[in-house]
């Protein structure tokens, strides 16, 4: 997925909204900027399929050599797929954060709140201010 086509939360998660057989599905991960800030990752906890997620609320956590950080869902809906092997190959996140590094797929309720998220240009501006 191209970073330019994604939507972004202030807390550094991205979502790609696609149409799958008439329903809207959001694929969620964390951004390259976030991964760089976290430094080396050592552990990750992802939710199970069927879990209801809410925009801005925690859906998992990621631990680096520096700290444990919460993962916040950028959208509302229900988890329909989990990249369950990702915690075993965390290096994938660094090499392909917007592809193989996806975390969960969410069946969105309505647009799942995606319209409230930032586009790529706005997110880049936020990163420049933080970095």
């Amino acid at each position: 997925m191209k970073p330019e086509q994604l939507r972004y939360a202030e807390t550094h998660e991205w979502v790609a909204v696609t149409d799958e057989g008439g329903r809207k599905v959001g694929t969620v991960g964390i951004t390259a900027f976030a991964i760089e800030q976290l430094t080396d990752l050592v552990h990750m906890v992802l939710p199970k399929v069927g879990k209801a997620v809410e925009q801005g609320k925690e859906f998992g956590e990621v631990e680096s050599v520096k700290a444990v950080s919460s993962l916040y869902s950028p959208v509302n809906g229900e988890v329909i797929a989990v990249n369950s092997d990702l915690p075993n190959r965390l290096e994938t996140l660094g090499s392909d954060p917007y592809g193989e590094g996806w975390m969960i797929k969410v069946a969105l309720a309505g647009d799942g709140g995606a319209s409230k998220l930032m586009d790529h240009a706005a997110y880049q501006k936020q990163c420049a201010a933080e970095g």
């Binding site: 800030q37 080396d40 990752l41 050592v42 552990h43 631990e63 050599v65 520096k66 700290a67 444990v68 965390l90 933080e130 970095g131």
Partner: protein, 488 residues
């Protein structure tokens, strides 16, 4: 010269049948172990313990101890940890036989002296905090947080109020959210603003009738006093919530202001920080908590009570959350805290805080010319410098600088905390350091920033182990010796 076998494991030194002591032949009848114990209690193999002589064991541990950096050997500006000098007087007092040889099962009437000391410590901690009800039981600061949140939960249950949320700013210690979750609350982060204070707008938007406790570290982990604290307390109290003060940074305000006076309902002390108890070493700690009179009945039992001129351990406390620690907590470190407080007296404790703040501001005034301090020119007991600019320019990170300081005989500051400052270096000199020591530290820090990035990326160069593989250590930790020559 360094003994080159220092890092050899005792398992690797082991030779079959080598012993530290030789016992005389057994002069009582010998029974086979499988006749004495049921089969399912017996292991098929002997434990793979190392077989070594006494001098080998002594040299092993003595040499290992010389690799350590401690406050007795090095300047130790580890921010947030308050690594002040641990006075040897306190050790001497805590080792007195009348204190060290007491048994926790002794009847109260035979330990009146100790109970009096603990009672007095309860009174003193209550006075310093402005929160009169005290429990000395918790065994560490984080344990104190948990115990206090359990006290809060018991209070709300008693009042039949459903309260589900604990709030704390994003600059809080990681123990705050952990304690909140362990006590059964939902944890909500409140943003801090660019100056490092609580973002009042964000706080207001998260305040509702579900709030149980707002946890605040004041002075904060950025080494600044949030002057909004009374206003925050008013807002939280209006919603029926309580204020918890994380007392990690009490060293800056001893005798100057009291948490109970600026709105806190509960707090913990870290006696190993504020009252100079020894840190770490696996030794027992303490995290006494102080609360308002209203919350007092819920404190852990027992507490020390004075009845006429006698002291007793009071267990008969119907609303208490019960025991949070065996016996009476870790009394040894409490004795040291009492000694420290009584040695200084009220004026002395105030001077401790004043000098801690003065020292930190002096060091800030020197370090800011080397690394910027985003929160400004004035601090409390510590400050947070940022290596972000130097990293951008030369690729030298806070970690590189910290590691290189070890080569020059300084313990490193805390790095990468708080998370709100990029490439953070958190520096806390404490009141026990001289101007000369702080000058030497600042000069070395400056010299390091002039060194070549390649040299710094590989530092430290003088320690027995340079840079452990932290990622692999966390992902695939090797926890024990397996007896077949491998650690797994």
């Amino acid at each position: 010269m360094r003994n080159l076998k220092t890092s050899t494991l005792l398992f690797e030194l082991s030779k079959p049948a080598r012993r530290a002591a030789t016992l005389p032949a057994c002069d009582v009848p010998v029974e086979r172990i499988d006749k004495l114990l049921p089969k399912d209690s017996l292991s098929e193999r002997l434990p793979p313990l190392p077989e070594v002589s006494e001098p080998e064991v002594v040299r092993h541990f003595t040499n290992l101890s010389t690799l350590n950096m401690s406050v007795d050997t090095h300047f130790y500006p580890l921010g947030s940890c308050t690594m002040k000098y641990n006075s040897k007087r306190n050790e001497r007092m805590a080792a007195l036989p009348g204190i060290a040889d007491l048994h926790p099962h002794q009847p109260d009437e035979t330990i009146q002296g100790m109970l009096e000391l603990l009672y007095e410590l309860q009174q003193i901690l209550g006075e310093i905090s402005g929160l009169p009800a005290v429990s000395l039981q918790p065994a560490a600061g984080a344990h104190g947080e948990l115990a206090a949140l359990m006290v809060a939960a018991a209070y709300f249950r008693d009042k039949k109020l459903l309260r589900t949320k604990v709030l704390a700013p994003d600059s809080a210690h990681g123990t705050n959210p952990a304690s909140a979750k362990m006590a059964g609350f939902e944890f909500v982060t409140v943003k801090s603003n660019a100056a490092g204070f609580v973002d009042m707008e964000d706080l207001q938007s998260k305040l509702d009738d579900q709030i149980a406790v707002f946890m605040i570290t004041n002075p904060s982990t950025l080494g600044i006093f949030d002057k909004q604290v009374s206003q925050i307390a008013q807002l939280v109290h209006k919603m029926g919530g309580l204020i918890y003060l994380d007392g990690a940074n009490m060293n800056a305000i001893l005798g100057i202001t009291r948490p109970g006076d600026f709105g806190a309902d509960m707090m913990h002390y870290n006696p190993h920080k504020t009252f100079s108890g020894p840190h770490g070493g696996g030794g027992p700690g303490a995290g006494p908590i102080c609360v308002t009179d209203i919350l007092g009945p819920y404190l852990p039992a027992p507490v020390v009570e004075k009845v006429e001129d006698k002291f007793r351990l009071a267990y008969d406390r119907a609303q208490s959350i019960g025991r949070v620690r065996s016996f009476f907590g870790n009394v040894g470190v409490l004795v040291r805290a009492w000694c420290y407080i009584r040695t200084h007296g009220p004026e002395g404790l105030k001077a401790v805080a004043e000098n801690a703040v003065l020292n930190a501001n002096y060091l800030l005034s020197r370090v800011k010319h080397i690394l910027p301090v985003p929160q400004g020119d004035r601090c409390m007991h510590e400050f947070v410098a940022s290596a972000a600019a130097i990293k951008k320019k030369t690729s030298v990170s806070a970690m590189d600088l910290a590691k290189r300081l070890l080569d020059y005989g300084f313990h490193a500051p805390t790095v990468y905390f708080p998370l709100t400052v990029p490439e953070a270096m958190m520096i806390e000199p404490t009141e026990t350091e001289s101007k000369e020591t702080m000058d030497a530290f600042a000069e070395i820090l400056f010299r390091i920033t002039e060194e070549s990035p390649e040299l710094l990326h590989e530092a430290p160069h003088s320690t027995i182990i340079s840079r452990p593989d932290e990622v692999r250590a966390a992902r695939q930790p090797m926890m024990r010796w397996k007896g077949d020559g491998n650690v797994r």
